[in-house]
């Protein structure tokens, strides 16, 4: 950990400036725990006439949360796998196998980054409905995967560009096909980059509400975000139960977040290099 500012300032144990810095940082860290504290305390405290952890019992008996979680896992996992394959392939193609027009196509993919989901959601809804994609998992999976594709493709293209061209050329001269180069040489090197885009896609899809609301309206196909959000208004009085459900719904992303934290930061700031 380098320290720019204190380097030339007097750095005795905890000088005035550093004590203030410590207090600010500590306060910020404690305030940041507020949502977790609020969720956990609410979920374990007894509701009226209830017992400790009564809300958890109520959650599992009154709502098909296991089904909701499985639905979320299915669409998020599907989108994550699809976008990893598609973006990895496209990154290889754009970075190492240029063809007439490939630069324009990459430019279009980059431009797609700035199309808000809300701008295309209506036309998408009708297009998907026309081919049976509304009310089926594959429709939601395609929506999530497509939403993550521009960012992921740009990230993978930048990654493959950072690898030397000789890696591809020498293998081709040795008689390998472009497909073999991809599968046996380049893809194995892309592990960290693919992990980054996979985790970001998973978190984005798991945490989505709009596509889930529209594409999977059937209660049996409902995702956990939709399941929780649709309780608002229906049972406005039982906010505590909804918060318990919210905490439950957040467990997979929290786990993914803890395990893959360093990939997230590198992925998010990767856009700054350009």
């Amino acid at each position: 950990m380098t320290d720019i500012v204190a380097a030339s300032a007097p750095s005795t144990a905890l000088s005035g400036g550093r004590r203030t810095a410590f207090l600010i940082a500590a306060a910020a860290a404690i305030v940041s725990l507020y949502p977790f504290g609020s969720l956990i305390l609410t979920s374990i405290k007894p509701p009226l006439n209830g017992s400790w952890f009564g809300l958890w019992t109520q959650l599992f008996t009154s709502l098909p949360v296991a089904t909701y979680m499985l639905n979320s896992a299915l669409v998020s996992g599907g989108a994550m796998i699809l976008v990893s394959i598609v973006s990895c392939m496209a990154g290889y193609g754009f970075a190492k196998l240029p063809y007439p027009g490939s630069k324009v196509l990459l430019g279009i993919v980059v431009a797609a980054l700035s199309i808000p989901q809300a701008t295309t959601i209506i036309a998408n809804y009708f297009n998907f409905a026309a081919v049976g994609g509304v009310g089926s998992y594959w429709g939601a999976i395609l929506m999530y995967a497509a939403g993550a594709t521009p960012f992921s493709t740009v990230l993978m293209t930048n990654f493959f560009r950072s690898l030397p061209d000789e890696l591809v050329e020498s293998a081709i001269i040795d008689g390998a096909s472009y497909r073999q180069v991809f599968i046996w040489i380049l893809a194995p090197l892309a592990g960290p980059a693919v992990t980054t885009i996979a985790v970001l896609c998973f978190l984005g899809s798991w945490n989505d509400l709009l596509v889930g609301l529209l594409w999977l309206p059937d209660p049996g196909q409902r995702t956990i975000s939709v399941g929780i959000a649709s309780l608002v208004g229906v049972r406005a009085s039982n906010l505590d139960l909804i918060l318990t459900g919210s905490l439950f719904s957040a467990l997979p992303p929290i786990l993914a977040f803890i395990v893959f934290q360093r990939y997230l930061v590198s992925g998010i700031v990767s856009g700054i290099g350009k």
Binding site: P35, M89, T119
Partner: protein, 296 residues
Amino acid sequence: MATTGRLLNSRTASQRLNGVLFTLPAVLLVGFVMGLPLVQAAYYSFTSWNGAQAPFTGWTNYLNMLNDPELRRSLVNSLLFAASVPLGLVAPFVTAYVLHKDIPGSRLFRALIFAPTALSWVVIGMVARQFFALNGPLNSIFRLFGSSGPNWLADSSLALPAVIFTFNAAIYGINTIIFLTGLATIDRSTIEAAWLDGAREWQVIIHVILPAMRRFVEFVLIVTVISSATGIFAMIYVMTGGGPGSATLTLEFAVWRRAFATGGFGAGAAIGITLMLVTLLAIGAIRLAMRDRSGA
């Protein structure tokens, strides 16, 4: 020579063919789920499409952005959201700055500050709903002073500030971490030189550190404005549903309300296109502003 040439040509042809095939799935996905619907939305924005019929209505939908009180409100609200972003970035910057000093526990603090980023907008919205509830934690502070406190999310003048506050609080952690990443890239010798010249701390921050972090500040501004405009449907859905009335309606949420709640798909398409244009304009304005400052 001829053989080598032909070999190279066939290699180029094979390389091009493979290039097309490898990029095809991504291009198709983006084309069919983003490009095509964008063109369709642009077309339908000039119609009063109701799901069955789409009679051409010219600029009516766009004029309604200014004439229809609800849509005008959503436009203003979206702009207020974007305008709150620069102010909302002060806290993340200050936090990153103090975390960057060599203080004990900074790794732990950093992890805790980043942690809420794991929570979805649905969950954030639920926590905020409880926080601002009539008998919620915020009003319990009011009760300490003998007042009952307002019903924040049901009050048409307080709901928007509450929602904007929640948004800025929710992106505080991730922006702190991005600023920290930026601080780590600064060459320490320039800062030491400023210190040796007798500059005060705030002078070093304004004249040395912020200019050196220009790209990071620009990135955070753009990403945060984009997410305020296009990424918080879920938070508003669970916090207020755009209400009371249209007090917390944003352009993004108005698309949902007009199109899927009332069947005005042509109007919804026009709101969506407006949203995209407003966002692009905001990004352009940020780019321009940041360029001017670097030239100074």
